[in-house]
């Protein structure tokens, strides 16, 4: 869970950087650390192996353009599909490219779902792309992305 610190950095510089980060993060004690592309790729590979996602034009990803607050960002999606026994959406995996850990959630559907759609609320640490990867019953995978702007508010409390 903890990110390795550079032991060589002088303590004063660390203090200034930490103070700056603390000021940015406010009083809530959130660590400002973000995933890199390697982590996102690794998280995706764990779920879909080395399958390359095609363009997810059938995925409708509903997210606010600007999040009121990064703690509670409404997420809604729907994947067009017949949702029958041999042609349905198995899972939709959601990632947040800029969060400390990119995994957000995986949603698993069955033909009894009727619709491959769901909504929930997520935490976003900063402005970033939210990625939805749909895994179909025939093994094909598709991806859609949307950027959500998350800003540091000026007025905590």
């Amino acid at each position: 869970m903890t990110e390795p610190r550079n032991p060589a950095a002088c303590s004063r510089r660390r203090f200034i950087v930490a103070a700056g980060a603390a000021a940015l993060a406010g009083f809530s004690g959130i660590r400002v650390a973000h995933a890199d592309q390697a982590m996102v790729d690794e998280a995706m590979m764990k779920l879909i192996g080395d399958r390359k996602p095609g363009d997810g034009t059938m995925i409708k990803l509903d997210l606010p353009e600007i999040a009121e607050n990064g703690n509670t960002v409404p997420l809604k999606f729907e994947v067009e599909s017949p949702m029958t026994g041999d042609d349905y959406v198995k899972s939709v995996h959601v990632f947040a490219e800029g969060n400390p850990r990119p995994d957000v959630a995986s949603f698993h559907f069955t033909p009894a779902s009727g619709k491959a759609a769901a909504s929930t609320r997520m935490r976003l640490a900063k402005t970033q792309n939210v990625v939805a990867v749909a895994e179909m019953s025939d093994g094909k995978v598709y991806m859609a992305k949307k950027e959500v702007k998350v800003t540091i508010g000026g007025c905590g409390g």
Partner: protein, 264 residues
């Protein structure tokens, strides 16, 4: 000509996006120039407040309802024993508190009244200010007044405390040397980094703040505001905050009780 129209449309869109209302647009959430914090939120946040199922704060209202009929304390009573149906007996509390209490010769607010009932009449322990129990009970009780216009009494014996609350509101404090009025009276609609400043109205408290990810009390918000201008916050239930609470109730006069509101 066309360009001017486009400019006006663009400016209007920007104003609406920035929380500046067009005349009559906010319905019950605006009275004269007093606007509920509801009007400064994004569509998504308002959506969460508008639906009682979507609103996570309703979990606290439900808990409050449970506690209302739960016996607690040496006297073997529940709130319900004396107050019967909350929808009837509590229906004006959210719109009128804090009130002058002759037995203590100063204002009493809802949290204090609940604890006074518990300790003096139920023989039960007082609840901590920001505890789930007290938050649930205050949210439940104020919720009974939802939709009722705020109408606190600020004359008679309450006047002295109202004036104190007003003075507090206008007094500079903290390293940033700012008063409540600077953000909430001079600059609502303006921006503090990415937050849109509201009028700091109290009609939706206790409120589910997305930032807190839970329901929080008005005094919690006061403490946060004071810390933000780098002033030492006062204690929950302090005279300063209870007087301020009355002043804020007056500032919100006519706005509907929205408890439990959803804010950023």
């Amino acid at each position: 000509m066309k360009y001017a129209k486009l400019m006006l449309a663009g400016a209007t869109a920007a104003m609406v996006a920035g929380g500046v209302a067009l005349a009559g647009e906010w319905g019950q959430y605006q009275v004269e120039d007093r606007r509920s914090g509801y009007t400064y939120m994004t569509d998504e946040t308002r959506f969460i407040q508008n639906d009682d199922f979507e609103n996570p704060a309703m979990l606290w209202v439900e808990k409050g309802e449970e506690l209302w009929s739960t016996v607690d304390g040496k006297e073997g009573k529940a709130c319900q024993s004396c107050h019967q149906d909350a929808a009837e007996s509590m229906k004006m509390v959210g719109a009128t508190y804090p009130v002058y209490a002759p037995e203590i010769e100063k204002l009493i607010n809802l949290e204090q009244r609940i604890n006074q009932c518990r300790s003096e009449r139920m023989g039960a322990d007082e609840w901590k200010w920001e505890s789930d129990e007290l938050l649930s009970m205050t949210t439940y009780v104020r919720h009974q007044a939802r939709g009722t216009p705020m109408q606190a009494k600020v004359d008679g014996p309450a006047k002295e405390f109202f004036e104190k609350g007003k003075a507090f509101y206008e007094e500079r404090r903290g390293q940033l040397d700012m008063a409540c009025m600077h953000c909430h009276q001079f600059y609502p609609g303006g921006q503090l980094r990415a937050n849109v400043l509201s009028q700091g109205q109290s009609n939706g408290f206790p409120t589910y703040r997305l930032k807190w990810q839970k329901v929080g009390s008005l005094h919690r918000r006061f403490r946060g505001c004071n810390k933000q201008v780098r002033a030492k916050p006062f204690a929950n239930g302090s005279d300063e905050y209870v007087n301020l609470e009355l002043y804020l109730s007056w500032r919100a006069r006519g706005l509907p009780v929205e408890t439990p509101a959803v804010r950023n």
